[in-house]
Symmetry: C2
Subunit: 751 residues, 2 copies
Amino acid sequence: MSLKATILDKGLEGLFVQATIGIEKEGQRVDQDGQISQNLHPKRFGSRDFHPYIQTDFAESQLELITPVCGASTDALRFLGAVHEVTIRQLAEDEYLWPLSMPARLPESSAILEAQMADEDRRYREYLTEKYGKYKQMVSGIHYNFGLSPAFFQALASEKGSLTETRNLVYMKLARQFLRYQWLLIYLLGASPLAPDRYFEGGEALDSPARSIRSSRFGYVNEPHVHVSFDSLDQYIKDLRHLVDTGDLIAEKELYETVRFRGAKSVKDLPEKGIEYLEFRLFDLNPFAPYGMTPEDARFVHLFLMGLLWIEETPDYRAGLPLKEATALAHPLTPAADIAEAELVFEALLEMAEQISLSVSDRELLLDKRSQISQPEKTVGGQLWQTYEASGSMLEVGLNLARSYKSAVMEKPFGLQAFSEMELSTQAFLADAIQYGFAVEILDERDQFVKLTFADHIEYVKNGNMTSQDSYISPLIMENKVVTKKVLAQAGFQVPESIQVTSLEEAEQVFSLVCSKPIVIKPKSTNFGLGISIFEKGITDKGDFLKAVELALLEDKEVMVEDFIVGTEYRFFVLGDETKAVLLRVPANVIGDGVSTVKELVAVKNTNILRGDGKSTPLKKIELGELEQLQLKAQGYTVDSVISEGETVYLRANSNISTGGDSIDMTDEVHPSYKTIAVAIAKVMQAKVCGVDLIIPDITLPADSSPTSYGIIEANFNPMMMMHIFPAKGTSRRLTTDVLKMLYPEYPWSS
Amino acid sequence: MSLKATILDKGLEGLFVQATIGIEKEGQRVDQDGQISQNLHPKRFGSRDFHPYIQTDFAESQLELITPVCGASTDALRFLGAVHEVTIRQLAEDEYLWPLSMPARLPESSAILEAQMADEDRRYREYLTEKYGKYKQMVSGIHYNFGLSPAFFQALASEKGSLTETRNLVYMKLARQFLRYQWLLIYLLGASPLAPDRYFEGGEALDSPARSIRSSRFGYVNEPHVHVSFDSLDQYIKDLRHLVDTGDLIAEKELYETVRFRGAKSVKDLPEKGIEYLEFRLFDLNPFAPYGMTPEDARFVHLFLMGLLWIEETPDYRAGLPLKEATALAHPLTPAADIAEAELVFEALLEMAEQISLSVSDRELLLDKRSQISQPEKTVGGQLWQTYEASGSMLEVGLNLARSYKSAVMEKPFGLQAFSEMELSTQAFLADAIQYGFAVEILDERDQFVKLTFADHIEYVKNGNMTSQDSYISPLIMENKVVTKKVLAQAGFQVPESIQVTSLEEAEQVFSLVCSKPIVIKPKSTNFGLGISIFEKGITDKGDFLKAVELALLEDKEVMVEDFIVGTEYRFFVLGDETKAVLLRVPANVIGDGVSTVKELVAVKNTNILRGDGKSTPLKKIELGELEQLQLKAQGYTVDSVISEGETVYLRANSNISTGGDSIDMTDEVHPSYKTIAVAIAKVMQAKVCGVDLIIPDITLPADSSPTSYGIIEANFNPMMMMHIFPAKGTSRRLTTDVLKMLYPEYPWSS
């Protein structure tokens, strides 16, 4: 029975659609003139000895960006996007990621720095350079790794013999079919029409534009006599081993077919171990996609590969090879080489889409690609050629695109656009983890749940800083203000005295205890400032006191009547034995220039890229609502008042970042004694990560043991990080990296 | 200015009422005949070397139960109640706690076993026995430790000189006033009218009943010439040191005044260190109070002590001493010795109550005590005498009370009635901690937050098993079913395959993946069983499938479609490296006897002391509501059906304990391989305490690696403990003790 018939017969449509997809994308770092960069691979990417995502190919300048194995092409593309964002942010100021497969400029061969890898790798690369020349190695592309679901094979195997055998048979078919029909992919996606000076040095030269020089014999290919048969796995292994044994190839991996079997260190082990997945090495970079391939094309490749399995094989896959070469070398504006065959393939693809109920968007994608069969100007290569012709310079085309991709990333430095559905702090944390080379896995996107792996060391992280390092009891203590206070007081800290009441009767009884002291009355557990009353000068009227308790009782059954300490509140971010950051939050404000109105000053302040909705940005835009206008009125202003130069006008009474407040880093300004106190407080809370809020009258004076020296407001678990990483003013404190350092002390942080 | 005037003038009423109170209560273990017990101090109380609550006095049988320092007399009494509950539960079956100060029987002196304490203590006690005789040492009483608020002294000090000096002056006044007016407390609370045979052996005998033999010169008192002056602290120190230096006393602590200064190892250090609190040693056990003193009397003593400070001193406190002896030796039904003075004192107390706005109940308490001045039959001593006269035997009176107090405790073995507002598991945990001698502090009663201390080792515990031992990430992982599954699957466990959908459209797309498999459809995060559909035979109809998803979507935005494993669900309670308990939950049921109706069988089953509301009891009473009747109907029964002998009739489809289900301990029945798996699952969850729910087809067969061998339902943090500690059937597993053992490996558990 054919594979198609079996799928339909056994109802395996759902399993057939499932796939694992991973992408490797090469790309050159270039300078502002499009020259291959002479800078070394940035140290901030950690070591290439272990980095799972950011590697180099032949040249030191040639980045290889790698995604993990994903459950869908969109996920792989998304991850590729994240790796790009991280990579681009670490480039030198005048560096760009070249968006085309083919460099626009090649320097003297000797000026190309080979990748600075470990010794063994280096020797292998030197051999290749010797044999193929440096220039061909400078061409970049995408490798598309593709596997079918284990459950799919399991369901097939009961029909067709052993699991491994089934897997190998299916993947062999897929490999042959790919070789048979890859010319169509080159037609649709190929995009390396021109080669720069020096490229053909010392060999046959191509003198007309082509669809994909990279995919033709002018690309980085084996010598003409190097061939293996894909008729059977056994034959493939025999041929490849022979080439290695006779010295035609120095190693199996020197075979540059567009498809490669993965799953064993040596192909000899494949019959027993089974092919795990296929690596398709065919793809040119799509210069119009910021990451070298559009999500639509990644999905199309998946559907195309499924289609290849769906279609019955023709007698000999080798019939596809001349078509491949012809398509690669054809002018980018030439229609498909075999329109009839192309139509047949798409007919089969659409029939498959129908039979296995693929989504509407999948079908539209297939229809769109089919329409390009006789419309070469719509293919990637066709579009690139037209853009080139309009510009007259491939260098210009490439640089323009590179610049726009870089600035799109640099405009949003705080998060990871690929994971914009997650919290900013988790985005920043992921960015750091990817940059330094920790394997990351999003376990639950909505729940901000991430898994990290470095060597064998696994850590789970939720919300950016909730980790295994903290004890379970620690957040439970901090969650409960009464318990927090008791624990702190018993440890000898100056905790504002606090009385808990649950009714007005109880309040009446405690009045004499607090009478004439400065006090704050607040609900036991609310974090939004509701129901809080402050009597800074001391309370003397019992009626006022009871009124305030009544207000607080609306928010919680239990109300705290607490000593009030005069001073300014600072947030201390403690991590382990150190206060990593100290922050002052200031109410929303503008500073006058003697010319602009409040409205204008707010508009200017709101252009800061850090300001936005406060969720996808570290800070919030200042609004000019009722509360802000009331606040202005209290100061004798309206939104149209012109504010004199240097004068600060506050638009809010509260200092929350969520209402447009400024975050000001004060880490270096605060007297170290308070930092020590904050660390000690975190230790008593048994917390490794802790946000300690202290009220301090004067941060320049050292803390002492008098009850007015400082006051502890509260200790917070899972403290905010973004306001420290991107403060409105002052030094950025990269706390997400500090969390990583805490989790992985064994990582080579110095390098 | 007088203290009273200062309090009123400075508005210190609120601070004046605050006090720290701690109680020590002695009491004999006796056998069922009222004989002093010959059993050794129970080993399960841990060691007397460190036990903060359960100690022995002179005799091995003479328990000394101690409360921590509390903020109110009610708290101290409550804790005393808890210590009693714990103590009484550990007594031998035929042992009781003798409720009177005076034993009803004394054996031969040689038959009284001295307390088996450390060597040094023992030598001191031998000296005392030699000097005072064993019999007087057998009398028990209550010591009431009393301190005023530090803030009160602080407020006073600014007026009256140094803080320590102020404190010492105030406490000296209180001590003198106590000596001056203690006769009134003896009148109201004294209750040791008769002495048993042998008591007066070798000395002067008392031949008529008295109010308080214990408080008279016939009690355990110093030799007549031993006296110290309380006129000033200096004079007191001088006198006491002289008595020690001349050898009249072997140590300061041999001075048996009814008031003792606390705060320094030697009285010499008191002027500098300051008196911390006073210990009043006056009180006879109140036999009508299960713990030797009623909460009302404990409050009255507090108010009385406040009153002593409120009242101006008379020229010489010594005027009270003859009154004390006269009151102690008067017949219990004699009115107060000096009615006029008594009335004056109560007038002052009531005036104080008025002036500092004490509560209505406080005033009523004072009025009630005042009414006893000329009604001796209402005093504790008067009541005891009348009870004795009615019975004719003090032995009978004491034994009856002792038996009733013991059975009240034994009727509710699962919790701690003193802390009945807390969860049962926390009650059981506290009971264990008190029993073994951990210092416990309730940090937040409503929040089940407890602090434990052993030597210098502090641990915080919430809800009985949420501790510092678990990592913060562990409950976060378990809270999230998707993450839990991924983590378990990646660790190689057989996790039922699971697909997450968030809409009917998504559900439609996955149908082919689950079609014809046994599946369960459930909301991502609900624990109440709502929205769960099970297709045990495999689902084939897409409409049914979508309907089930729709139901689940009503409960949560995310729905899990999961493989369903056939078998029975068991709860594995894992602690550290061990599965400590395995439990099977069975739906509410009754077993027929061939005679009784369902209604009758349920009524009988509900008499089990373990059954109640399910909150203050480990199990829930079975109800006969609509659901139960429907369930009966489905089996062809009504509540009036007679069930044949041995037949089990289920009243519910679900097995929740909260709907009357039975908990059956299966720890010893389950094949050990599953216990090992449960431990491994907990380890992967990074949990020290974990409740693992496994579905197992046959618990007698070892687990294997086939996908149907077992299924993991979920892993729970903060798993329930009571159902294991008090199962409906099978062996009790004292998990609360296991938690203590986990937290304190250094504790001498073997002893």
